[in-house]
C-alpha cells in the first residue's frame, strides 16, 4: 500500500465512521489507533502474500525464509490489536457504529492472520519446490496459471484493503460478488495439475505442492471476501455472511 493510499484511507475511514466526532477525545484517539494498527497489519499481510507467492514462483529460498520469519510479526500484531479492542470494549462499552467497528476489527484481524498463515504455507512450499527442480522441468504451465491466480488474488486483497480503509461498501460488495471467479480459476489449476500428475507420477509431490499453493490462494480469496463482508456489516449494520447473492441483494435492499 502506497503512502498516497494510506492518506486517502485515513480520510475515508475516519470521516465516514465519524471517528473524530466523539465527545471523548481520548476515545477518538483509541479508535484511530485501532484503525492504524489494522491498516498496518493489512499492508503487512499483503506484503507477506505477495512475497510468499513470489518466493514460490521464483523458487527464491531466502525470500521464503524471510516470509516465514515475518509471520511472527503478523501474529504479534493480531494479539496486540485483539487486546487493544478488548480494552476499549471493557472501558468504553461502545454501541452502534463503534461497536460494529470493534467487532469487525476483531474478526478482520483473525482473517488477516489466517492470510498470514497461508503466506507461510507459500514460504514452506517455496523452499521445498526450490529444492525439487519442478520449476524448470514440468512446472512451467501450472506456475503461469498460479501466477495468474496469484496476481488476481493479490489485486483483490489490495482492493479489499483499500475499500476497508475507505469504508467503500460498493467495492466490497463487488468483491463478494466476484468471489466465484477465484474459485473457478482454482478449479482450472486443480484440473491442470491433476492432468500433470497423471502424466508424470514422479512429479506428484511437487504438483501437490503447487496445488497447495493454489489452495492457499483460494483461501486468501475467501478471507478477502470475509473482510469485505465485515466492511458491509460495519457500514450498513447488515450481516451478509453465508448468504447467496440473491439473499445478499435482498438484505441490501431492505431497510
Amino acid at each position: 500500500m502506497t503512502t498516497k493510499d494510506f492518506n486517502e484511507s485515513l480520510s475515508g475511514f475516519t470521516s465516514k465512521l465519524h471517528l473524530d466526532k466523539h465527545i471523548s477525545r481520548r476515545f477518538n484517539e483509541e479508535l484511530e489507533q485501532v484503525r492504524t494498527l489494522v491498516m498496518e497489519m493489512g499492508s503487512l499481510v499483503e506484503q507477506q502474500v505477495n512475497d510468499g507467492l513470489n518466493a514460490v514462483l521464483d523458487a527464491d529460498e531466502s525470500l521464503a525464509i524471510k516470509v516465514i520469519d515475518r509471520d511472527q510479526k503478523v501474529n504479534a500484531m493480531e494479539l496486540e490489536i485483539d487486546q487493544y479492542c478488548t480494552q476499549i470494549l471493557a472501558r468504553r462499552q461502545p454501541a452502534a457504529s463503534d461497536l460494529r467497528l470493534l467487532v469487525s476489527v476483531i474478526k478482520s484481524i483473525t482473517d488477516l492472520e489466517r492470510m498470514g498463515d497461508e503466506a507461510v504455507k507459500f514460504g514452506k512450499n517455496a523452499i521445498k519446490l526450490a529444492k525439487g527442480n519442478f520449476i524448470e522441468e514440468e512446472g512451467a504451465r501450472p506456475l503461469v496459471e498460479l501466477r495468474h491466480l496469484g496476481k488476481h488474488v493479490i489485486e483483490t486483497l489490495r482492493t479489499a484493503l483499500r475499500a476497508y480503509a475507505q469504508m467503500d461498501v460498493e467495492t466490497a460488495l463487488t468483491i463478494i460478488r466476484n468471489d466465484s471467479v477465484i474459485d473457478e480459476e482454482f478449479d482450472n489449476i486443480s484440473r491442470l495439475l491433476v492432468t500433470k500428475m497423471m502424466e508424470n507420477p514422479r512429479e506428484i509431490k511437487n504438483a501437490l505442492r503447487v496445488t497447495w499453493c493454489a489452495r492457499a490462494l483460494e483461501r486468501i480469496g475467501d478471507h478477502t471476501t470475509n473482510l469485505c463482508e465485515y466492511i458491509v456489516y460495519l457500514v450498513e449494520g447488515k450481516d451478509v455472511r453465508h448468504s447467496t447473492l440473491e439473499q445478499m441483494a435482498a438484505k441490501m435492499e431492505s431497510e
Binding site: 465519524h18 466526532k21 466523539h22 465527545i23 454501541a95 452502534a96
Partner: protein, 277 residues
Amino acid sequence: MNNIEITQDPLAQVELTETVGNIYADDAKMSIRNANVYYGEKQAIHDVSLDLAKNQVTALIGPSGCGKSTFLRCLNRMNDTIDICRITGQLMLDDEDIYAKNLDPVLLRARVGMVFQKPNPFPKSIYDNVAYGARIHGLTNNKAELDEIVETSLQKAGLFNEVKDRLKDPGTGLSGGQQQRLCIARTIAVSPEVILMDEPASALDPIATAIIEELIDELKEKYTIAIVTHSMQQAARVSQHTAYFHMGKLVEMGKTEDIFTHPSHKLTENYITGRFG
C-alpha cells in the same frame, strides 16, 4: 439504499419529519398516536406516536430536556397537576382513551403505576408504605388480606427477606436501593397493568442498580413496563424496545438490539455512541 445518515455531512441540520424505525407492537398495551404536549406556549412533545408492547420493557432514551420524562408522565396523567400543561392526541390504554372526559385520573393511576427517579418512600413504616395504595383504593378491609398483599408485593420486589423482621421500621431508614425496591413494591401492591419508571436507578450504586434491573426483568412477566433512563447501557440491558427522543420528537424507535448495534438515524447514532454533531 444509501439512506444511512452517517454517510452525510455530520454538521448538516437534520430536519426531522417522521420517526424512523418501527413504532408498532403486535400486542400493544398502550398505544399513543400523535401526542403533543404544551407547557403554556412552549411545545414540549411534538407529534409522538408509539406502542408499548404488552409484557415487555420499552426504554425511552434521549438527552436531558428531550421530553422523555414529560412523555412518560403523560401516560398516567401526572402532568394534570401542572396547570399550564396541555395535551393533545390519542393516548390509549387497551382500548380506552386515557384523556377521555369521563375517565378519572385516580383510576388511571391505579392501573398505570409510577416509580420515580429519587426513591421517595413515605415517612411511614415499611408496612404502611406498601399497604397505603391498597388502603386508599379500598382493595381490602381485612387485616389478614392486607398482610398478604404487603408480603407478596415485597416478595415480588425482592425485598421481603431483607425487611420481614422490621416491617414496622420507617421506610426512610432503608438503603437507597432498598428504598427504591420499596417504592416498586408499593406500586405493585395496587396491581397495576403498566409500570412507568422514571430513571429508577439513577441514584443508586451499580449493585443496587443491577438488582433493580433484574427485578424489572422479572416484573415484565406480569406488567408492561416503560422506563426512562439516562444510562444507555441500562436501556440496552433491560429493554426489548427502545425509543430515542430528541428535542421533543421521537426520532427513532425499534428493537433494542437493533438500536444499539445499527441505529438508522444519525441523531440516535450520535447519542448512543457519544458523538456530537
